[in-house]
């Protein structure tokens, strides 16, 4: 005897969150049944493996039918096929668009192209995330990217509206889109210690301070492209390192302020010129697309690594960056205060986030 056909359809669509997660994670029906059995749901409900299998199959079918709706979540609320309570819809959408931290680290900053998709099996093998799940997550990134590409208005808001995501998730997607658009390098070995959340935070800083949208919020691509004029203006900061007097003056101001306040003072004093050169050079080079891509690697190489080898604490870092930024205002021959603040504000918060003791 074999079951030829087995369906269960409810007027209100029944969805088990646990099974949904298995489906999202790319488990096969058999694997999901196995895990569920181990999970003890059987003893709880006096069901047999057969019952569990039938239930899992049903749910998988339902999810598959729902999947095309989840591709444009607004449709989920307006379709007639499945009667799903609002909070369930929200759950379905949120979970569908949730991604694995390990997976996103692999594709962050890469072009969301067919070529990258072809390499997903390597990513899957490396991260332990099933290929099916990798594909879903990748397609989600790509879909969000495609939709917001052509929209005006703030990036996070656009994502939240079109994909009905929570604020947190919408911000994460904004970061992914931002990174994919600017092709930031995140895969280098030196950057491996950084988590997606570190990058997402930096992306948020960059989006709200350095993009076109930071000034005008009705421009196309306002939140994904860095403002050209600002990048051009950054070149002017070079005076801080090319002018010997200014550099010395800056150093003495910072050192005066720091003296006695930190154990790492000697190292700070010794390295000041190097560090300052590093930061200002990064600023000056940002007009080059290639150098924009290397923004994070430069920050790590030119600033974070030297500090780390000198064993600065996070507190030291904060102290140093605050005084380094503020002291520039006292320099009377330095005229680019606005650009300096706009630059250093982001740099400071990014470095603080990226500096793990």
């Amino acid at each position: 005897m074999s079951v030829e056909l087995d369906v269960f359809v409810g007027n209100t669509t029944i969805m088990d969150e646990e099974v949904y997660q298995f489906w999202l994670d790319g488990y096969t029906v058999n694997d999901a049944v196995k895990v569920r059995m181990e999970g003890g749901v059987l003893e709880e409900c006096e069901a047999s493996a057969e019952v569990l299998r039938s239930d899992t199959m049903d749910q998988y079918r339902t999810f598959q039918m729902c999947e095309r709706l989840l591709h444009s979540p607004a449709k989920l609320a307006n379709q007639l096929l499945f009667q799903i309570p609002p909070h369930r819809q929200a759950m379905l959408i949120e979970r569908y668009y949730t991604f694995d931290g390990v997976f996103v680290r692999e594709v962050l900053g890469k072009k969301l192209s067919k070529g990258t998709k072809k390499d997903l099996d390597d990513v899957s093998a490396k991260t332990g995330v099933t290929l099916k799940s990798c594909r879903r997550q990748f397609d989600n990134f790509k879909r969000v990217f495609k939709v917001v590409e052509e929209l005006k208005g703030p990036l996070v808001e656009n994502i939240r509206q079109h994909f009905l995501l929570s604020d947190k998730l919408a911000r994460d997607y904004a970061a992914i889109v931002f990174f994919a658009n600017n092709r930031f390098e995140t895969g280098k070995k030196k950057l491996h210690y950084l988590t997606f959340q570190d990058f997402a935070f930096c992306a948020g800083q960059l989006i709200s301070n350095w993009t076109v949208g930071a000034l005008d919020n009705m421009v196309e691509d306002m939140d994904v492209d860095l403002e050209k004029e600002f990048l051009q203006d950054l070149k002017e900061l070079k005076i801080l390192i090319t002018d010997k007097d200014l550099l010395d003056q800056h150093k003495s101001l910072v050192c005066t302020a720091l003296r006695g306040k930190t154990k790492a003072f000697n190292e700070m004093e010794a390295n000041f010129k190097n560090l300052s050169r590093g930061l200002v050079n990064i600023a000056a080079k940002l007009t080059n697309t290639k150098d924009v891509r290397d923004f994070f690697i430069d920050l790590v190489e030119k600033f974070i690594e030297p500090c780390r080898s000198d064993k600065w604490t996070a507190g030291d870092m904060r102290l140093y960056l605050t005084h380094y930024t503020n002291s520039a205002h006292i320099l009377d021959t330095f005229k680019h205060q606005v650009v300096w603040d706009r630059y250093m504000g982001v740099i400071k918060s990014c470095i603080l986030k990226m500096y793990h003791d």
């Binding site: 005897m1 409900c45 607004a74 379709q79």
Partner: protein
């Protein structure tokens, strides 16, 4: 004992009078048959039992297959037979009647069954339902006032009494309608455990829903008998004959199974009995479903005794006693499970039942009748009569096995195939209507009857288990109106379709209500007052459901009495009378409460708009910078669906009409659509969606009395094709929440100013 006898004698002439009276009202109708399953209190005077008939016909023998004459003649024959069965039970009418067919190639089984009953002739007169019947809700809202016996008694005595033979309505319908000295079949009679004046049978099988006035001990449960019988492949007459020969045995087997399972659950009555026999090329399937209950007015069922035929060796005896122990344990467990604790003392007062020992010999196979044996076995069961199962052949062993292998229902679940479960009142609004379809392929071509039985039983049991598992999040809950449909679509295929509704209830308040109910009439009076005040206003909703089901047979009956044979020419005539009746009623309703009706509509509107199926806040503009915009149209209305006639915790304010739709779906890319399961899954989902859309388009927010009447599925995997036909129907309605309703009647607001409803919702 003596006084009881005298009353019985007195009741004799009264009964004949009553019979004459009602006979005149019903006799002249050709078919005093009602398809309704629930009635206003007092309508059913007595219920005799289930009457059924089957007929095997050859479809290729019809001379003019396009003309209905031959088929009409077949059905007429069957209805006549049903009518005469009812007469044999001393009844003049049949209620809860249904007809069905099962066709395989050219052979067709026509089946009809119903419940023989004596009806109150007062209801038969034209228009009487308008006057008195309107305050009796047919909608089976488990209203606390309706359940209490006190209220029912009061009303019947005032409204219906006059010629009534004074039997209290809570037990009247179980009293035998036939003459106890001239019984149509051997049955064991006792005095009614409720009124102690009239005779009642030891068990009662019916096809109707449990009457609202009936007093039930504990809770009920779904009882199923399943049977599979192989038959040789044959053609034409030979085939028809072999089917005809099998049918009586199948009915008998199913009946035995039902009876055993009923005893095992310590219950004494079945409601909503539906026996389906499906014919396939090489087998016959029989499935009987019913809801078992313990009617307080009937005697307590005895236990089940196992008796070995040849008490030869010790191990055999041991085997017997193990089974016996298991049965006893199961009965004890079931008593706990269904909360069946009838008061034991009554028996002493009434005395032992009539020593009619030849009971049930015709009904139950493997029943030992020897009184010696009985007295011997009775020791363990005290005064109660044990029901003896004799293991005389392998079949009986199988029976007992199947009796005990029915998996116990998981904790927190109840199930029934009637509208609601007796003993559960506090429904929450948690509701899940569902349809589940399974098709099994019998891979092994030459299976024995036992093997087939096992497969079929497992199939049904597994299906139920699956349902319980799926709906586990709704616990505590009851699966109501569980409707199984079996078919043999092809050789070696068995199809089972189930439609039901899972309704959750509140355990805390449930216990409180149980206590309140047992406390007596003090509470009831309060509730009565409340519902009476509602009456003036509630005509708008209550009349319509009353008018609808009762109006049809009412006028139909009247007309068929004028025109002696049912011809389709008079159909329009009948309809028009019915419509007129409705219009008249609607008119009075409109005149009565224009203001309230407008208010209810307003309320209904606000209800439907507040229950949108969307996680988005409403009324968002499409402008870009609005807080959140959506590129789509209006949100979707939530439409509830239920096979029942009501929605718990709500009141139906408007009936919008019947929805009856046929869908046919075909695919030529079966594999691509996820195989047969994927195909049917999306089809059923789409059928639901279309039904919901139709209801919403009519302005409704629910579909009640939903049923899937047809689900025919055919596949040809080799050609990558499948076809499916589905027929669904139901009534589109507008409902409002009961909590909102309190705000409507002005009568109430003056007194009960809880005042939460009106401001919040309108």
């Amino acid at each position: 004992m003596g006084s009881g006898g005298s009353v019985g004698k007195e009741a004799g002439p009264l009964k004949t009078l009553l019979r004459q009276h009602t006979q005149s009202a019903l006799e002249q109708r050709e078919f005093p048959i009602f398809t309704l399953t629930c009635f206003p209190p007092g309508f059913l005077v007595h219920v005799g039992g289930v009457v059924s008939t089957r007929s095997v016909k050859l479809l290729d023998r019809i001379h003019n297959p396009d003309e209905p004459e031959t088929r009409d003649a077949w059905w007429e024959e069957i209805r006549q037979e049903i009518k005469s069965h009812a007469k044999a039970l001393g009844c003049h009418a049949v209620v809860g009647y249904s007809e069905s067919t099962s066709i395989c190639e050219e052979v067709c089984i026509l089946s009809a069954s119903g419940t023989a009953a004596m009806l109150n002739p007062r209801f038969m007169r034209e228009g009487c339902l308008d006057i008195g019947g309107s305050d009796h809700r047919l909608s089976r809202q488990p209203h606390p006032g309706m359940v209490g016996s006190e209220r029912g008694e009061g009303e019947v005595s005032s409204t219906w009494l006059g010629f009534e033979d004074a039997s209290p309505p809570s037990c009247g319908f179980v009293h035998i309608p036939y003459d106890e000295f001239n019984m149509p079949f051997p049955a064991q009679l006792t005095y009614c455990y409720h009124c102690r004046r009239q005779k009642v049978p030891d068990v009662l099988f019916t096809t109707i829903d449990l009457p609202a006035e009936a007093e039930v001990t504990g809770k009920g449960c779904l009882i199923q008998a399943r049977l599979c019988r192989t038959k040789k492949k044959a053609q034409g007459e030979v085939n028809a004959t072999s089917i005809s020969n099998l049918l009586p045995f199948m009915e008998y087997e199913l009946h035995t199974q039902l009876m055993n399972k009923l005893k095992l659950r310590s219950m004494n009555a079945l409601f909503g009995l539906r026996i389906q026999i499906s014919v396939g090329e090489n087998m016959l399937l029989g499935l009987a479903s019913a809801t078992g209950v313990y009617l307080s007015a009937l005697p307590a069922p005895g236990g089940i005794q196992i008796a070995g035929k040849t008490p030869s060796d010790l191990s055999y005896d041991q085997h017997i006693s193990t089974i016996q122990k298991r049965i006893d344990d199961t009965i004890a467990k079931n008593k706990e499970l269904y909360n069946i604790h009838p008061p034991e003392c009554i028996e002493e007062v009434v005395g032992s039942p009539i020593p009619d020992r030849q009971r049930s010999s015709r009904l139950f196979r493997s029943t030992s009748e020897s009184s010696d044996e009985l007295s011997e076995l009775d020791l363990s069961h005290g005064k109660k009569d044990a029901f003896v199962l004799e293991i005389d052949d392998t079949d009986a062993v199988e029976d007992i096995q199947s009796l005990l292998t029915d998996a116990p229902i998981p904790a927190g679940f109840y199930s029934c195939n009637t509208e609601v479960m007796p003993g559960i009142h506090n429904w929450t609004s948690g509701l899940q209507m569902f349809t589940s379809v399974r098709v099994y392929r019998l891979s092994n071509a030459n299976l024995t009857n036992q093997g087939l039985n096992k497969i079929f039983t497992d199939l049904c049991e597994n299906l139920l288990k699956s349902l319980y598992f799926k709906l586990r999040s709704m616990i505590p809950c009851c699966l109501c109106h569980l409707n199984f449909t079996v078919a043999v679509p092809e050789e070696e295929l068995i199809q089972v379709a189930v439609t039901a509704v899972a309704m959750s209830f509140d355990k805390e308040t449930q216990q409180a209500a149980d206590r309140a109910l047992t406390r007596g009439s003090g509470e009831n009076e309060e509730q009565l007052q409340f519902s009476m005040e509602l009456c003036g206003e509630s005509t708008i909703s209550n009349n319509q459901p009353t008018a609808k089901p009762s109006g049809v047979p009412e006028s139909a009956m009247v007309h068929s009495s004028r025109a002696p044979s049912v011809d389709y020419g008079s159909f329009a005539d009948r309809c028009s009378t019915w419509l007129e009746l409705l219009r008249l009623k609607a008119h009075t309703i409109r005149r009565g409460s224009v203001k309230t009706s407008r208010r209810t509509q307003l309320l209904a509107h606000s209800v439907s708009s507040s229950e949108r199926c969307s996680p988005l806040p409403e009324g968002r503009s499409r402008s870009l910078r609005s807080t959140r915009s959506l590129p789509c149209g209006a949100p979707v209305t939530v439409v509830k669906m239920t096979p029942l006639s009501f929605l718990p915790g709500t009141r139906i304010v408007k009936y919008l009409g019947i929805i009856n739709m046929f869908f046919i779906r075909e695919t030529t890319s079966l594999r691509e659509e996820g195989g047969v399961s994927g195909f049917l899954h999306s089809f059923i989902a789409e059928v639901f969606a279309m039904v919901r859309a139709h209801v919403a388009a009519l302005g409704g927010n629910a579909l009640v009395s939903y049923s899937m009447k047809e689900c025919v599925f055919m596949e040809n995997p080799n050609k990558n094709q499948a076809q499916c036909l589905i027929n669904v129907s139901g009534d589109a309605v507008i409902f409002i929440r009961e909590s909102d309703q309190e705000a409507i009647p002005p009568l109430l607001t003056s007194r009960q100013t809880s005042g939460t409803g009106a401001d919040g919702t309108t």
